[in-house]
Assembly symmetry: C2
Homo-oligomer: 339 residues x 2
DNA sequence: CTGTTAGCGCATTCAT
DNA sequence: ATGAATGCGCTAACAG
């Protein structure tokens, strides 16, 4: 049978007012220790479960944050949610999940769901295919706290957490240079995604810092797929001036590179260096193991929860949006260790 | 500014009763088409967003299901959630996520959170360390629909979806036999987890079916870690009667086996066969690629949503609990393909 | 320190 | 076909 014990049941049982029970339960300072004790005892005995719905309706706060992700089927987002969710629990917040499946229409639906559920705050990693951002603007206009993580948009003036792709790419490229590779190529991703254009920037900056002339032939435009890696590697190896190392925009791309090199019996890392980006799980276990750049997923989740938590607390006050940028970590494994 | 439009705002605007607006909005059959049209037009114009909290409080239904997982930081659970969440959206349900982090105490907290939130149903994958199951019993007693997935418990008489570990293990072992390996060993996981004991059962059954004598020396008790795989392999290779193939309880265990074999320069698959269980992402990309058994994660999520959906619909009626068992799929890759 | 009163926004009886 | 009244369970303002 469903638990139907309410605050007034407890009140009747003790011959006091429901309001007193409410206050006792929430440790209101003006309630005597003795009544608190009595109330809590009865609550315990009757197995009272506070009705959060009623409380939310009355107080206007749900203690729920909505998290909108492209898909739960990527470990990346799972890790971020791990970070968000653990911190949320600690602070008494529940986490509502919605997947956009990379569709703008579903993304809008997700936002509507969150608004309908009257969540206290919204966390979003923008869908790849979103081109119209009005749904985010309207969240902002409704004065609902919102923050982006990983997939952000600078035009909207919404707070965000992401990693420093520029410096990650810089580190990756630099590590290749320092390992002794002489000519470093880059397989890039779709440039309308900021993370990827930043990685090209970082790549170029590292070359410049070490006085290596940038060569446009050493950039191959691909995407984050194994196939792009294979094609990129093939392209570079047919060049007159072949590079001897590749910084790939993403681990799967790097994986494609490794596969292609293996088929051509080019020795990694001695004859050719490879580094990826993402620190996907498999990189540690392939042969040769893949050097890469770690994206601090769990920390990103924690950071973005802190952000929304602040936004919720300071609601009403005018605050400028802020960008938090996490510094990625270089992970050097076999694929870039020239002996 | 926050959206404060309510049904009475719409009612005033049109000079009708709030109740009529409520009915019009929910397409009540006794409302004239013309009023419905007018009401919806005004709702649209004012950007009315129904308050789900108020609706829930009134109706006693939240259209939320709580999903309790050990951790979001494993792709396995992410995939299941993917399946659950997509179907939930389709059916108008929201998904609340809680992580137990494999702790019984957090698991209890999660259940309390869900009860407090008055979710319409609860989906759980039990924590590894849970030994006392009273919190699940009390959910059942409160008549809140609940179902387990993957990590289930048969004693509680709660509906569940999991895969057929027995037949998965059978298939894995059988494929090794059919590939021509003569002596097949098994690295097992903690036996108090049913999935793992079932896998031993499937292993033994396959041996029996092919008239291979079971040898207790060919079972190594480990866990699902790379280290267990290495230790298991080491143990087997020191045996007088060495096996020539290993069925590992999990992909990471199998990975450990592969690493150990590689160090000892034992050729896989020609001199030694290996198969895992789980179909983790990395298996496809290591060398040699890992044969394994796929667990149908997304389908599991969909299936368990269907289960809870039924349970919610038939609430009140007495129904027996049911177990749905998904058939896993054998994935044959290089590590078990003897030429 | 505690009780009284009121109402959050909606859905549902019972009228008409 | 629509309106009026009621209350889901809780919290907050105001009394006292």
């Amino acid at each position: 049978m469903k638990n139907k014990i309410t605050i007034s049941d407890i009140a009747k049982e003790l011959g006091i007012a429901p309001a007193t029970v409410s206050r006792a339960l929430s440790n209101h300072p003006e309630i005597s220790a003795s009544t608190k004790k009595k109330v809590k005892a009865v609550a315990e005995r009757l197995d009272y479960m506070p009705n959060k719905i009623a409380s939310s309706l009355r107080s206007g706060k749900t203690k729920v944050i909505g998290v909108l992700i492209p898909t739960a089927e990527h470990l990346f987002f799972g890790s971020v949610i791990h970070g968000i969710s653990n911190l949320a629990s600690q602070h008494g917040y529940d986490v509502l999940i919605y997947q956009s499946n990379e569709s703008e229409a579903f993304e809008k639906k997700g936002i509507d769901t969150f608004i309908g559920a009257r969540v206290d705050g919204i966390l979003v990693s923008i869908s790849k295919n979103t081109t119209n951002f009005s749904h985010f603007k309207s969240v902002k206009e409704k004065n609902i706290p919102i923050a982006f993580f990983d997939r952000t948009n600078d035009d909207l003036e919404i707070s965000s957490v992401c990693i420093d792709d520029y410096s990650g790419a810089f580190m990756a490229t630099e590590s290749l240079i320092k390992s002794g590779y002489k000519s470093i190529a880059h397989i890039s991703g779709p440039q309308h995604i900021k993370a990827f254009s930043e990685r090209i920037r970082g790549y170029k900056a590292a070359l410049e810092q070490y006085n290596i002339l940038f060569d446009a032939n050493l950039i191959y435009s691909g995407d984050i797929s194994i196939e792009a890696g294979r094609k990129g590697a093939t392209y570079f190896l047919n060049l007159e001036n072949k590079p001897d190392a590749i910084f790939a925009v993403e681990d799967f791309t790097a994986l494609g590179v490794l596969k292609e090199l293996k088929e051509r019996e080019i020795q990694v890392p001695d004859a050719f260096g490879v580094i990826g980006f993402c620190n996907d799980l498999f990189g540690e276990h392939i042969t040769p193991s893949l050097s890469t750049v770690d994206q601090k997923t769990v920390q990103m989740g924690e950071e973005v929860f802190h952000l929304i938590y602040e936004l919720i607390s300071k609601k009403g006050e005018k605050t400028n949006h802020q960008k938090r940028i996490l510094t990625p970590t270089l992970i050097t494994r076999e694929s870039s260790k020239k002996s």
